[in-house]
Symmetry: C2
Subunit: 382 residues, 2 copies
């Protein structure tokens, strides 16, 4: 049987990425690899929509989040972040571990932080940096990043964004929205294995990291930033994954970023139409196009649904984390997912519910198939 | 043309590793991947020759070195390390960045630290930890790790070893030599791409990291250690590289570690016999079997030799680093290298020298081929 990943990371590997990673591996101090790094840099900037330098790190996304914290803020500095989800709260954990003066905006799980609350908290605390999660993977909530960045910037605060599940799945305009630092990871919309993370560094972020006294070594962004123009990294990079990243960015750029975002929008809309047809509710009222978190009625078993889909079809969906454990399932639909995948996912999800005795008010297949056919007008045929 | 890597990392990818990394990628929270992690753990312990838990990190080897520093020592703690090579000195850089009281044993480049100097320095300074580089990649020097560990342990100091280029290339007995922490990396004798690092943690090391106040997050070994029995990692692991690591360890264990060490010994001996036949000198008098660093006569160009071998044959050898830049070349012979590779390497190296007007006193091919035929008596036929 074939395993089918519908998780919000890792996501299915794109065939072009797999081929590229399986190619003969060059040494990292050769012209060939340096050119690969430089092409990847140019392509990544198009995905990020910026001319800012983008640093590659051999680590998971959490490593790049740590790099942002220890390079862009100082011990004791007043910084703002929100609660309301596992990854949103990870910013808080990181900031506290490294001794920052952390002001948390309390949010319920599933509610993304609002521009108003960021504005009020930054103004009241005179915070100098705001750490935001664009798409919160644990709840499927999406914040209004553009407006949050605007209000934070107007108050002089640095804007640092965890865009690990949103980059490539949602419109994200690093330059236009003046985002100082945007963190991404390989195993999401980039259709790659995990192991590589990246972050963009705007001019203000670059200035901050130069004279920052925080002890750091592996994640010191000074040598990493200096290496960007020459296609070099301070430590041996994860070469095969960099080769995969070039291929992944090429796939995204060739499809066109606007088209990639619309594709994710259409897939997410179809999933949400299916959830509604089932009479179920999504966790977030401001949903991300990367993952849909769905409340499971109390008389059913969320873990049982997941287990049945896995054992019957080897379809992998995610469960709840933290306070949502056992109460929700999360349907991932980002990366190398097509319309047939979405149809299969929702059909299998319906079968799993029926198998537990749930009676759907209407056929999910009809609704999902119909919604998939009504593609976004601006979207070219897939 | 085919690229041929004779660098001390990255090294050529073994075919079984390449196949394994190209296999369909499982989600990391599945039974299937957990079993892969657990099998890899058991195999790695056989390579390390220990029953200690071994933590996997998605990072380069430098990341695992940082993890050792920030988890096993405290700010202000007195620790010993040596100079005398780029990676030996990296321990010092890391220890200083994180505010340890560093006592450096001064060594010339190419001279490995001695058990006597470790004994004297630890006794005089009452240091509580010693950071050692087993095989120094920048000079090809090998220290007497077994004796160094004995004297350090007798004085109550923790023994932390960078074995990144020695693990799998040289006898290294983690349990028998009572090494508290041994750091390894994927792109060396493991015949894999870079991007994965690992470290073993003995009982004393495990105790130290539990109540260590050093701020750390991505490299915090507490959750990493807790995850070892269940095959889980705190952050999303570099899944495809873990699949490759299982295959790599299987190849090493199937060949037999003793045999793997003898193979590296035979290859290194043949290279050194060739260097001697050329009338050239190695940088270190206590040479590592992973890499041979060779002084290049002043009237020749070391970089020119490397460039000619690359342009003519796409054979990649390494140059000098730090004070040895431009004065040496480094011939890497660890990992998935066979006897034909060694013969080719030395033949091409001789051609490069001749091309610069050098007159070898005798034929390198004869010497190398003859030495390759006299395999170690205990070694089975390759």
């Amino acid at each position: 049987m074939k395993q089918r990943l519908f998780t919000p990371g890792p996501t299915p590997i794109h065939e072009a990425v797999a081929r590229s990673m399986a190619a003969a591996m060059p040494h990292h101090r050769t012209e060939e690899f340096i050119e690969c790094m430089q092409r990847t840099q140019q392509l990544l900037r198009r995905v990020y929509r910026t001319e800012d330098p983008i640093v590659l790190l051999s680590s998971s996304g959490t490593g790049a989040m740590e790099a942002a914290v220890v390079n862009l803020t100082r011990p004791g500095e007043t910084v703002v972040h929100a609660s309301g989800g596992k990854f949103t709260e990870r910013w808080g954990e990181l900031l506290r571990v490294f001794g920052r003066d952390v002001r948390e905006i309390p949010m319920n799980w599933g509610e993304p932080v609002t521009p108003e609350s960021v504005h009020d908290t930054v103004r009241k605390t005179h915070a100098t940096a705001v750490f935001v999660t664009h798409s919160e993977t644990s709840t499927g909530a999406l914040c209004d990043l553009q407006q949050i960045a605007r209000v934070a910037r107007d108050l002089g605060a640095l804007v640092v964004v965890d865009a690990i599940t949103s980059l490539g799945a949602h419109r994200l305009e690093t330059a236009q929205w003046k985002l100082d630092c945007v963190v991404g990871g390989s195993q999401k919309a980039f259709m790659m294995p995990p192991g590589l993370a990246f972050l963009s560094l705007g001019r203000k972020a670059q200035e901050r990291l130069r004279d920052n006294p925080t002890p750091r070594y592996y994640f010191d962004l000074r040598p990493a930033l200096d290496g960007v123009p020459t296609g070099q990294t301070p430590w041996t990079p994860a070469i095969s994954l960099v080769q995969g990243l070039e291929a992944a960015c090429r796939v995204l750029v060739d499809e066109g970023l606007e088209q990639v975002w619309l594709r994710h929008q259409d897939h997410a809309d179809a999933v949400r139409a299916g959830v509604e047809a089932l009479g179920l509710r999504t966790v977030s009222q401001r949903p991300s196009n990367a993952v849909t978190a769905v409340w499971i009625p109390e008389d059913l078993s969320a873990d049982g649904l997941r287990q049945w889909m896995w054992e019957t079809f080897q379809i992998k969906i995610a469960g709840g984390q933290g306070p949502l454990r056992g109460r929700i399932v999360r349907l991932g639909h980002l990366g190398a997912i097509d319309e047939a995948d979405i149809l299969l996912l929702m059909t299998a999800f319906e079968r799993a519910l029926i198998q537990q005795g749930f009676r759907p008010p209407r056929s999910v297949v009809d609704v999902v198939a119909e919604r998939l056919q009504r593609r976004s007008p601006a979207r070219s045929t897939p």
